[in-house]
């Protein structure tokens, strides 16, 4: 079987294409509940109509892929992006959105929602970075007590759902006599949770630097903290930055969980602003697009930072 497939690349390609086509037709047939029904054929079995519509659509998709294949690579990428984006827009369009409602609300979504989301995320990532640094050093400690503390922390906060951590901090701390606001509770939960994940990122980055570097620094008389900050971390940064950027993007979206304790960030506003006029879907789609835009912005910033760090470390 394997041999039959791999022996002849052209045959493999034909089989693959045929297979893809069949699956596409099958999926479209099953999913499409409103097949194209011209007057003349209206008496036919609906499944036949579904199959016919699916075949036409699948052929269009295949033709489209073929056509894209003729373009140079960069144009292919753009072509795919534009087509899929238009499809997504068509999907949204089908909801019959009220754009005047969106236009009325978007200003508030941005000035209040985006501002709060960015504030919470940026503050949390900052605190999480500090926690991660301390956590990573603690996790590499020879001292059992310190290692115990650090490993318990990372285990607990990676092990509980973030939503649970937010509830526990917001509802639990007042039980022991410390009343905490919704925003600080959210920031605390996000920082602790992401600090635990980033502890592992930082530890891996630090451990990737050869032993000789810290020995060289020690032999020159540098104290452990000096050696860490002046010699190890600057080198580890190249390994730490890319996954940390991913964490930041993930946190931007996880900050939406803070809406459960009533923080007026983007997600909360998206859920509440549409209520009075029963325009939920408008707000949810708008907020989704804003999250996406913010993520794209962050991805771009991340690639710039990586490029810069790569250069200054060009050895």
């Amino acid at each position: 079987m394997m041999r039959y497939l791999l022996a002849d690349p052209a045959r493999l390609r034909r089989i693959g294409l045929g297979f893809g086509f069949v699956i596409l037709v099958a999926v479209l047939t099953l999913v499409n509940q409103k097949p194209w029904t011209p007057e003349a054929l209206s008496g036919l079995n609906p499944w036949v109509l579904r199959l016919g519509t699916a075949l036409v659509l699948a052929l269009l998709v295949m033709a489209n892929i073929r056509a894209l294949g003729l373009l140079p690579r960069a144009a292919q990428v753009w072509g795919v992006w534009i087509e899929l984006f238009l499809l997504l827009m068509a999907f949204f369009w089908s909801f019959d959105l009220s754009f005047s409602f969106i236009a009325r609300k978007i200003g508030f979504l941005i000035t209040q929602g985006v501002a709060m989301t960015l504030y919470i995320s940026a503050l949390s990532i900052l605190i999480a970075t500090v926690i991660a640094l301390v956590g990573a050093v603690a996790k590499m400690s020879k001292n059992g007590v310190i290692y115990g503390l650090a490993s318990f922390y990372t285990s607990l906060f990676r092990g509980l759902p973030l939503l649970m951590q937010i509830y526990i901090i917001y509802l639990g701390l007042p039980q022991v006599g410390y009343v905490i606001g919704a925003v600080p509770a959210g920031v605390l939960a996000l920082s602790l949770c992401y600090g635990a994940y980033m502890t592992e990122i930082f530890r891996a980055g630090i451990e990737s630097i050869p032993r000789g570097q810290s020995e060289g620094a020690t032999a020159l008389g540098l104290a452990p903290a000096q050696s860490m900050v002046l010699v190890i971390l600057p080198q580890a940064m190249r390994i730490i930055i890319p996954p940390t950027g991913n964490q930041f993007i993930a946190m931007l979206k996880d900050s939406s969980l803070v809406s459960v304790v009533g923080v007026w960030e983007l997600m909360y506003l998206a859920r509440t602003q549409g209520q009075t006029e029963f325009r939920h879907i408008e707000m949810l789609i708008t907020a989704s697009m804003i999250y996406w835009l913010l993520s794209i912005g962050l991805e771009y910033a991340q690639s710039r930072i990586e490029a810069r760090f790569g250069r200054s470390n060009a050895r």
Binding site: A219, A223, N313
Partner: protein, 246 residues
């Protein structure tokens, strides 16, 4: 020499878990003395000199450096390391810093020198190892021999009283060995106290006051280089030298 020794080891034992890396090492090095350490792989040469600057803790016995009793305490270790320069087989230059920055880092942060002062010292030593023109390059842009000369200059910038070398030329291509040995020979001529793990016999004959032969964590034989190389006493040393010459 009547002067007080700069380094003493007395009855030093060191193990890694159950494995005994050093057994009952006793040694004293006078100021200005040059000691070459040799012996088969795994005999504990690196371990011994790493103990002398506190990079490795030891379990029994006593090590003193410049009159200071070297304990496991962090502060003591750091004080000792300021008196002791160390050059590694793998250079251990900091790749994210230029050559000059490599040399001024410790003087600035450990000795609290101003940048100008540290740069002046660094330039002097870089000139001495004949690499001043490369001061603004990064380590990776230099050849192995050049990197090792930078490593020596970097250690000298801390004005150490003792220099430790752990096989400084064994990671180098043959044509670069000489440039590093020349620098070390100059340093010896100027009176630096040196303990040097190396199998470069020419260097040992020219520079060493004493050769120490180690095997299985023990000092088996000590002699002036001429005596050691021409008439080794122990069977192990004879075997080792025969292999070295093969």
């Amino acid at each position: 020499m009547p002067a007080e020794p700069l380094v003493t080891l007395s009855g030093v034992h060191k193990s890694f878990g159950a494995f005994k890396a050093l057994s009952d090492i006793t040694l004293s090095v006078a100021p200005g003395e040059k000691v070459v350490v040799c012996g088969p792989s795994g005999s504990g040469k690196s371990t011994m000199i790493r103990c002398i600057n506190g990079l490795e803790p030891y379990q029994q016995g006593k090590i003193t450096v410049a009159g200071r009793y070297l304990t496991e305490e962090e502060e003591v270790g750091r004080a000792v390391r300021q008196e002791v320069g160390m050059v590694f087989q793998s250079f251990n230059l900091f790749p994210h810093l230029t050559i000059l920055e490599n040399c001024i880092l410790a003087p600035q942060w450990v000795q609290g020198k101003s940048r100008d002062e540290a740069v002046e010292t660094a330039r002097r030593y870089l000139k001495r190892v004949d690499i001043l023109e490369q001061a603004d390059k990064y380590p990776i842009q230099l050849s192995g021999g050049q990197q090792q000369r930078v490593a020596i200059a970097r250690a000298l910038c801390m004005a150490p009283r003792l220099m430790l070398f752990d096989e400084p030329t064994s990671a180098l291509d043959p044509e670069m060995v000489k440039e590093v040995l020349d620098v070390m020979t100059d340093l010896a001529r100027e009176g630096m106290t040196m303990i040097c793990v190396t199998h470069e016999m020419g260097f040992a004959q020219a520079v060493a006051d004493r050769v120490i032969f180690m095997d299985r964590g023990r000092i088996v034989e000590q002699a002036p280089p001429r005596a050691f190389f021409t008439a080794p006493q122990s069977a192990r040393a004879q075997e080792f030298l025969a292999q070295l010459l093969h």
